[in-house]
């Protein structure tokens, strides 16, 4: 690559907002994580252009930015669906059958872990122990907890979401 003459960065409408965020944090140590949080709030995830912008403006290698983003599960590299289904894979849940539930979710939504359905409705994630082992196996939809699940509950939960969506639309 011709690094001294590489083309310039694409600009999008939110560029100046990213700059503002960075400017606010610029002089504090360990600013990268708070900056990434705010940028994620702006876009709903961390698009590659935004990563590059943060790296350039904060003068940190983009590899380091990506290292941080990919280390914390809170950060998203891809756009998230309207409904974030997060299934607990902690020991208790796993032992009590989280595996088959996950399989069923994957089958129904036709996506894998970390992926979002094509219509932008559902994102499937796994997480660590939620501290609700008494209710194992557990999953959350946008933070709302569903417990003592079996794989037969999966279709119902997804339908619930779809119904909510329709209500909002109406």
């Amino acid at each position: 690559m011709n690094r001294n003459a590489s083309g310039c960065m694409k600009k999008d409408g939110k560029d100046h907002l990213v700059e503002e965020i960075i400017a606010r944090h610029k002089n504090s140590n360990g600013a990268l994580i708070p900056v990434l949080h705010e940028v994620q709030d702006l876009y709903g995830y961390l698009p590659a252009e935004a990563q590059a912008k943060v790296a350039k403006e904060m003068n940190v290698p983009i590899s380091e930015v990506f290292g941080v983003i990919s280390f914390y599960s809170h950060f998203a590299l891809k756009p998230k669906g309207k409904f974030k289904i997060s299934i607990c894979m902690g020991t208790a849940c796993y032992v009590k059958g989280a595996g088959p539930i996950l399989d069923k979710l994957k089958e129904n939504l036709a996506i894998g872990i970390g992926e979002t359905t094509a219509d932008g409705q559902f994102t499937l994630e796994e997480c660590r122990c939620l501290g609700a082992c008494g209710l194992a196996p557990v999953l959350t939809v946008n933070g709302k907890v569903y417990g003592r699940l079996t794989k037969d509950d999966v279709t119902g939960i997804i339908d619930d979401c779809k119904r909510d969506e329709e209500e909002i639309v109406q």
């Binding site: 690559m1 690094r3 003459a5 290698p61 590899s63």
Partner: protein
């Protein structure tokens, strides 16, 4: 001192040493994987654990300091079992097929597994996602199946080479090494320096060029000096028979400490090219035919004799080679002076650093870098002006970046916001050719704010009053108008320079390739003297020289005014000395012609015969059409070369020469370090060493030169005949090279010149200098400034790099870099073909739209012939050294409709 016991042996050790260091010092083996000595440790692998009496757990020896009385066991049962567990885990986590692995025999994992008696992994982790092979990079293959996540590559890339490409991504079992934001290496910002490959202890990173070439145990290692730039990196050639199968940097060696760039590591295979010249060639009726050495040499000698007899010795000229060894340049200038009695000998420093030699001799008394490359990592201030270091001197740039990370301030001054500017505390984007004004402006602030080193300018320098008076004519306001740098920034930079001392100034051709090149050099010298930054460690004026041996070619007297060791040809004592030593009479006692005059002289018939050694002047001199016209007008041209070039076409005789690695001799890098270049193979066909060729011609002029190898030439002639080199012998430079001046055999050489302000010329000379604009400035017809140079992946006209596998892929064509503003205004897209034209010529070239280029500037290189920037450049030269103004001429750009 402390006492520790390791494996029942009682040992004395220094405080603060780690257990690993003590063990290693005493020949006790502890395996390591992630540890990188002297850099930083990630302490991630734990293979180096040892048992310490009284400690609850095993402790990693690389991370733990020993304490007095410690009792350590490096191979107890629990240690061995812990190690077995680690190796089993590592083997199970990946796919390690030693049969197919390039690293077999040198691999740390394989070695440790073998020592622990592990035959196959104890278990297989089926559940894991399979790691992948990243095959996207031209030079490097990343096989993540073999990666043990030791992170040495990350350290090498970020902390040694400072290229900031690699990092650790994801977490837990998904942890992996990533390039940029997890993109393929070939698409990333990786510059293919291969430092990560050198650091990888296993076969996860390999050099593509080496795959399948040799097993590690079949190779022998030969230390040598890089054939490319003036940094002079030390290479370890991995040889199988007479083939170089791999190159690594010599760890701990000076100057590069194990580091290499893409050209040094991967640019070696041009010597095996099938296009090498293998026989002398004589042109008959416009066509070359093969000839014997005797026939070709007889012809050369008789033609030169005839010209000299008829038109005198001033009618012949010679251009020596800055790529070849010192011994070759010495022989060529000896041929011209002693045999032809001609003063006309020069070489391509004329087109690059002649102003450095002239300027620094005037200012300081010695025309070389005052300090050393390694100091860049330790100084407090790095002032880089007119130097695109990350591309032109990549390994020197790593030390600058190290210095910045070690706390130094970095100031970059350049018309282009090149890569190094990204790391800078202050980047001043000056207008092309405004350097003297800018530097005067800095000194103006230092003087008016009373921030200069009074003691130094008073005690160690002369001409202070004149300088002061001149500089006071350049207040920030005026300088800002000339240079385009804001008044505030000029003041800020001046204060920063004063606050952070000692400081080093680095420059390259952005300073020298101007009509005011020598003045620019002396201005940098002025600034450093005013700051008191001369004659001490981590300071000085440090020109980075372009070619591997351009320092050496100057040192060897391939210049029209000096014998080797800078002994003036006009000095009767020097003349007498060389007449005696060479056994001749009537050595020329005047200064000879410089290259531009030799070339133009062909057309005016003042010069009739030209001997061109290793230079492709058709591609590298300004105004190619003019050069061709002159060469066509010549009566007789001889070339020594290793390939046919655009220039050899115009020769009457072409003599095939031995290349780098086919002859033994020395290169001198920009920090004046004379290092050995070793022979690893014979030259192809009839090709012969250049020094031999010159010697044969001298013989035909009745002179019998005794020395018959690089070593004999250096040890018996070069060293004894010049005080600068007197103490340097081949025997003394078998390992690290020695920096001249080195005037006796006991001397270790000179790291720092002008120590304590004792200048070679007595006092440092402050020159009062005025700013002058470039010769050709933009106007309505040609509204852009063209500035030229070279890029990372190629060297000059590609005679070498164009024949090294992979480098053409990395930079396949010439570009014209233009600004975003101009591109938008003219409706030019990135990668669109455009026309660039000047008063001399026109080229069609691909535009690169870049936010690193300021409005009004076009930047091009000289790597590809058809659209070489030199079709456009002008013949205006530095008033003192006649170095062409490659950095500024006026051009127009046009969209192709």
């Amino acid at each position: 001192m402390i006492t520790v016991t390791i494996n029942n042996k009682v040992l004395k050790a220094k405080e603060e040493q780690t257990i690993l260091q003590i063990a290693t010092d005493n020949g006790i083996y502890i395996p390591t994987l992630c540890h990188m000595d002297g850099i930083h440790d990630t302490y991630s692998c734990r293979i180096c654990v040892v048992e310490v009496e009284g400690a609850r757990t095993l402790i990693p020896s690389c991370a733990s300091k020993a304490t007095d009385g410690m009792v350590i066991n490096t191979a107890s049962d629990s240690v061995l079992s812990a190690r077995r567990n680690i190796i089993n885990l590592l083997l199970s986590n990946g796919e390690h097929n030693c049969l197919a692995c390039e690293k077999s025999g040198e691999c740390s994992l394989q070695k440790i597994a073998y020592e622990l008696g592990i035959e196959t992994p104890a278990f297989i982790m089926e559940s894991m996602d399979k790691a992948t092979v990243d095959d996207s990079s031209v030079m490097i293959v990343r096989d993540n199946r073999r990666c043990i996540l030791c992170r040495r590559c990350v350290t090498a890339c970020n902390d040694i080479a400072c290229n900031d490409v690699l990092s650790v991504g994801f977490r837990g079992s998904e942890t992996t090494i990533i390039c940029d934001n997890n993109i393929a290496m070939g698409e990333s910002t990786c510059v293919q320096c291969g430092q990560c490959v050198q650091a990888c202890p296993v076969g996860a990173l390999t050099n593509r060029k080496s795959i399948g070439k040799a097993r590690s145990w079949e190779t022998t290692h030969v230390r040598t000096t890089c054939a490319y730039c003036g940094v002079g990196c030390q290479l370890d050639l991995h040889m199988k028979g007479d083939e170089i199968v791999k190159v690594t940097g010599v760890e701990d060696a000076l100057p590069n400490k194990g580091r290499l760039c893409v050209k040094g590591r991967y640019g070696y295979d041009f010597i095996y090219s099938g296009e090498r010249l293998t026989s002398p060639l004589i042109k008959e009726n416009g066509i070359f035919r093969k000839a014997s050495w005797d026939e070709a040499l007889d012809l050369v000698a008789s033609k030169f004799k005839a010209i000299i007899e008829k038109d005198g010795p001033d009618a012949v000229g010679g251009i020596s080679c800055a790529r070849s060894i010192n011994e070759d340049s010495y022989q060529m200038q000896k041929l011209f002076r002693a045999a032809f009695k001609s003063a006309n000998i020069d070489h391509c420093a004329r087109v690059c650093h002649a102003p450095t030699v002239a300027g620094l001799i005037t200012s300081f008394g010695t025309g070389g870098m005052t300090n050393s490359i390694g100091e860049m990592a330790n100084t407090n201030m790095l002032f880089v002006i007119g130097s695109n270091m990350t591309e032109a001197h990549p390994v020197a740039a790593t030390f600058v970046k190290n210095g910045k990370r070690n706390g130094a301030k970095l100031i970059v001054v350049d018309p282009r916001r090149h890569r190094l500017a990204d790391y800078a505390d202050e980047f001043a984007q000056i207008k092309v050719g405004s350097d003297v004004a800018f530097l005067n402006g800095l000194m103006n602030v230092l003087i008016t704010e009373d921030l200069y080193d009074k003691e130094f300018v008073e005690n160690c320098c002369d001409n202070w009053d004149a300088l002061k008076e001149k500089v006071l004519e350049y207040p920030p306001k005026r300088v800002s108008e000339i240079s385009g740098v804001s008044e505030e920034q000029i003041i800020k930079i001046a204060r920063m320079l004063a606050e952070n001392k000692p400081g080093m100034a680095m420059y390259t051709l952005g300073i020298t390739e101007h009509t005011c090149g020598t003045n620019n050099v002396m201005s940098v010298a002025n600034l450093q003297m005013v700051l008191g930054n001369i004659g001490k460690e981590n300071a000085g004026v440090n020109p980075l020289r372009g070619q591997n041996n351009v320092q050496g070619a100057c040192d060897m007297g391939a210049l029209p005014n000096v014998y080797h060791g800078y002994q003036q040809v006009t000095d009767p004592a020097a003349k007498a000395k060389f007449e005696k030593a060479w056994g001749v009479e009537g050595l020329p006692d005047k200064n000879g012609l410089m290259i531009p005059d030799m070339i133009s002289g062909l057309k005016t018939k003042e010069v009739k015969g030209l001997y061109i050694f290793g230079e492709n002047i058709v591609g590298t001199e300004p105004d190619i059409s003019h050069v061709i016209e002159c060469l066509e007008a010549a009566e007789f041209i001889v070339c020594n070369d290793i390939f046919e070039t655009e220039t050899t076409q115009y020769a009457d005789v072409v003599l095939p020469a031995a290349a780098w690695s086919e002859d033994e001799g020395t290169f001198t890098n920009c920090e004046r370090r004379v290092s050995l270049v070793r022979k690893v193979k014979d030259a192809p066909g009839l090709a012969m060493p250049n020094w031999w060729i010159f010697k044969q011609i001298a013989k035909r002029f009745g002179q019998n030169w005794e020395a018959n190898s690089g070593q004999e030439i250096w040890d018996n002639e070069i060293a004894p005949l010049a005080p600068f080199f007197e103490g340097i012998t081949f025997k003394k430079i078998q390992g690290d090279g020695i920096q001249w001046p080195c005037n006796c055999i006991e001397s270790p050489g000179t790291q720092i010149l002008h120590l304590d302000g004792n200048f070679t010329r007595g006092k440092g000379h402050l020159m009062a200098l005025d700013w002058t604009p470039p010769a050709e400035v933009p106007d309505t017809e040609y509204p852009f400034t063209l500035s030229t140079g070279r890029r990372l992946y190629h060297y000059h006209t590609r005679t070498q790099t164009g024949r090294a596998q992979g480098l053409n892929e990395l930079l396949p064509e010439e570009y014209a870099d233009i600004s975003v503003e101009d591109a938008e205004r003219l409706g030019i897209e990135h990668n669109e073909m455009i026309i660039v034209k000047s008063r001399r010529g026109t080229v069609t070239v691909k535009a690169q739209v870049s936010d690193r280029i300021p409005e009004g500037l076009v930047w091009m290189a000289m790597h590809y012939f058809e659209n070489n920037c030199n079709w456009l450049t002008g013949r205006a030269t530095d008033t003192i050294t006649k170095t062409p103004e490659y950095k500024a001429c006026a051009v127009a750009i046009e969209k192709i409709s």
